[in-house]
Symmetry: C2
Subunit: 151 residues, 2 copies
DNA sequence: CAAATATCAGCCTCACTGAGATAT
DNA sequence: CATATCTCAGTGTGGCTGATATTT
């Protein structure tokens, strides 16, 4: 018997248990709980990680581009970038080539911070998927990617 | 060329694309958009469907039990049951055997309404998963169930 | 002029918390 | 007394909308 276990939640009705959208939502809730807990000590949020990851991979970008590749709304990109600039993790300057845009850049401490968040999030993934074998986890990622890519 | 398509969203950075928790969250967002749209005409919400489904499968239940088997917070069960009772889809009466509890029951129109919602939601699942074969969709459901069961 | 960008103010749902009243 | 149920009031985040100023 696992002494640390919370009382087992009763089985959900079949109409929910077999509904892909319900299962997706429930597992996403669990995933968000775990990742939020993992990031709590850092003061960063999931949006912040997404923005840092995009800049690390694609280099300096406009806020609109950041929003498009991360799925974050234009309006929320503003808030995330504000917070990260204030922490010295990003730089923001007007784009000399296009007056409508800001060029957002990763600072050195931004890169460091990204690595830190990345390690914490990878730990949370293991917690989340510990019931699956590595091959099964990969299958899950592949299937989810295909669903996601056909929005 | 698909004339109805929205401009393809650019690829997400690898750090997100390969992060199970991010993929889960993104697909859950898509799933919720589709199901909310499917239910919009009915005036019912996802919580309402969950409560109706639980009562249909398990019979008359207390609100606490409804919350446990659907994963809905005690506090939100109150609101959902209020709304459904007001629409005549549920009955609520004190439990003669335990004065702390209400016994919530499905009415005849509650059963009808459940079937209606069920059909709409099944349609939304097809939209959501149209990129997968039936076997792949089943694999996805199995993997998500195993992740969900080990919270 | 039409389209794109950045920003702001604000909305709504959902998941969740804390506290109180009642009953076991 | 400790625990369980129901209810209410309220919080915070996330995803999203609409409008505006500016630029292309």
């Amino acid at each position: 018997v696992d002494e640390t276990a919370t009382p087992a939640p009763p089985a959900a009705p079949a109409r929910l248990r077999t509904l892909p959208s319900w299962l997706l939502n429930q597992t996403a809730i669990a995933a968000n709980r775990l990742t939020d807990r993992a990031l709590a000590e850092t003061g960063s949020r999931r949006y912040h990680f997404a923005v840092l990851a995009a800049l690390d991979e694609f280099g300096p970008s406009s806020q609109a581009d950041l929003g498009r590749c991360t799925g974050i709304d234009r309006s929320d990109v503003v808030a995330a970038v504000n917070a990260l600039v204030e922490q010295g993790l990003l730089g923001r300057s007007p784009d000399p080539a296009d007056g409508r845009r800001n060029v957002i850049t990763l600072t050195a401490s931004g890169t460091d911070h990204l690595e830190h968040l990345s390690r914490l999030l990878n730990g949370a993934q293991e917690e989340l998927l510990h019931a699956l074998t590595p091959a099964e986890a990969q299958t899950l990622v592949d299937l989810l990617s295909r669903v996601h890519d056909t929005r």
